[in-house]
Amino acid sequence: MSTPGSQSLFDTDELVINMGPQHPSTHGVLRVVLKLDGERVIDADVVIGYLHRGVEKLCESRDWTQIVLITDRMDYVAAATNNLGYVETVEKMMGIEVPRRARYIRTILSELQRLASHLIWLGTHAADIGALTVFLYCLREREYILDLFEEFCGARLTYNSMRVGGLPGDLPPGWDRKCLELCDIVDQKVPEYETLLTQNRIWLNRTKGIGVITAEQAVALGFSGPPLRASGVLRDIRKDEPYAAYEEFEFDIPVGEAGDTYDRYLVRLEEFRQSTRIIRQAIEGLPEGPIIGKVPRLIKPPAGETYHAIESPKGELGYFIASDGKSLSPYRFRVRPPSLCNLQVLPTLVRGHLVADVVALIGTIDIVLGEVDR
């Protein structure tokens, strides 16, 4: 390429193209401004905020119990983990002891949510790369999970499924058996998706060596969750700072090597298996007892600030909440959304790749715009 001043006959102009907010594969209303040379991406600029609803500010004017319901609306394909992160933060602030049964059920719910979220991710990621069939298979399996949630709390998407100190209700009879059946279904179906993708030459071509992020880069850029682990960093909050009942179960943390799109795919596929493993253990050892701990009638945490993070399906979901100890709502409410933090890596990922890879890379970091924009 010669400089703009000395344009010869064959020089190309940079083409600036908007991908999104109305684009089939930006997973919502993400806008990426691409600078292209032919089809090669020279630079990318991520523009967010099209779905901003002011969730954090909204929480500062609701009382502590109402906030659970607002957190549902952030990562709407993983509402249960959002609930979990929030209620645990408040419990931490108030020093509430949660009964063991409630912690077990929370673990089950959060792993079910991980399955559901990963199914959505796998489906859309595959569909972005053109394998539409996988998308429909994934959504079919996700239905079973939504059925379970519906039976537990009455909702299929925004669950409002946890309370400060425990759960809104106990498991319906027979739920645990259905849950085990679901684990069997997932364990049987995931290898089926793998036959469509894992060894497929086109899939390998499209994902191997695409968007490589080294371990140092991943840490420096603030990656978390499966993308971080795919780069070879062993970091999982479920193991490192256990919450709910995770310290009582045996499970492995899959780690990738290359840090490319294919590894991120493999890591998440392995997480399917680990999730069903955790659910099985939790159901087997589900203790009897109350489902809600000793909670004061009026939830009003003492003055102070707390940060608590959990491993949501997409990465580290952290809540920073400050209370002034007087009012009935948080003084400051701030969320560390994994989608947003992972999304900021996108420009680094796409530089030098082709337009088609941009789509694959948006898919591989697994974002939900509700959470990015909040």
Binding site: S2, Q7, S8, L9, F10, D11, D13
Partner: protein, 170 residues
């Protein structure tokens, strides 16, 4: 009779397209008219019983070379008018020169054709042996073998030229 009518109709259409090529304002429109005239020329070849040539005309000229032209028209920046730098009178003189040369050529061809009496109809064997492509094959691969092989060298040169030109800019 029918063939005569068809010939003059085609010729008129070709001429009209040719005029349109140089008169329309948009370069892309010019290309479209040029493609149309190529297709009509292909029909003219069919009229001459040169089927193979007609198909090749469509395949190579209309389908290949004009695609290249269209790419070039879309590729180069047409928003800046390069003519401004050229002295208009010089262009006129050049135009007259080239035009004169083409005219002289046409006259020469006409005279030559006039001098050399052509057979009134195409040679009988060409019409009788319906398979035009076989005939082309026999001529090309026996009598004109050397030019044929030379053509491949020509293609090689074109290939290398294209790559050298384009790669320098990449």
């Amino acid at each position: 009779m029918g063939e005569g009518v068809a010939f003059y109709l085609l010729a008129a259409l070709i001429l009209a397209c040719g005029v349109a090529v140089v008169t329309v304002r948009s370069a892309v429109h010019s290309v479209i008219f040029l493609v149309a005239s190529f297709l009509l020329v292909a029909m003219l070849y069919v009229l001459l019983h040169a089927e193979f040539l007609a198909v090749i005309q469509v395949l190579v000229y209309a389908g290949g070379i004009m695609v290249l032209y269209l790419f070039v028209v879309m590729l180069v920046n047409l928003k800046r008018a390069p003519e401004q730098r050229v002295d208009p009178r010089r262009r006129d003189r050049l135009g007259i020169l080239v035009g004169g040369a083409v005219l002289a050529e046409l006259v020469a061809i006409g005279l030559y054709a006039f001098m050399q009496p052509l057979p009134a109809s195409p040679p009988a064997e060409t019409v009788a042996g319906a398979n035009n492509i076989e005939r082309v094959g026999w001529l090309l691969y026996t009598d004109f073998l050397v030019p044929f092989e030379v053509a491949s060298v020509l293609l090689l040169v074109a290939l290398i030229g294209a790559i050298v030109l384009a790669k320098r800019e990449l």
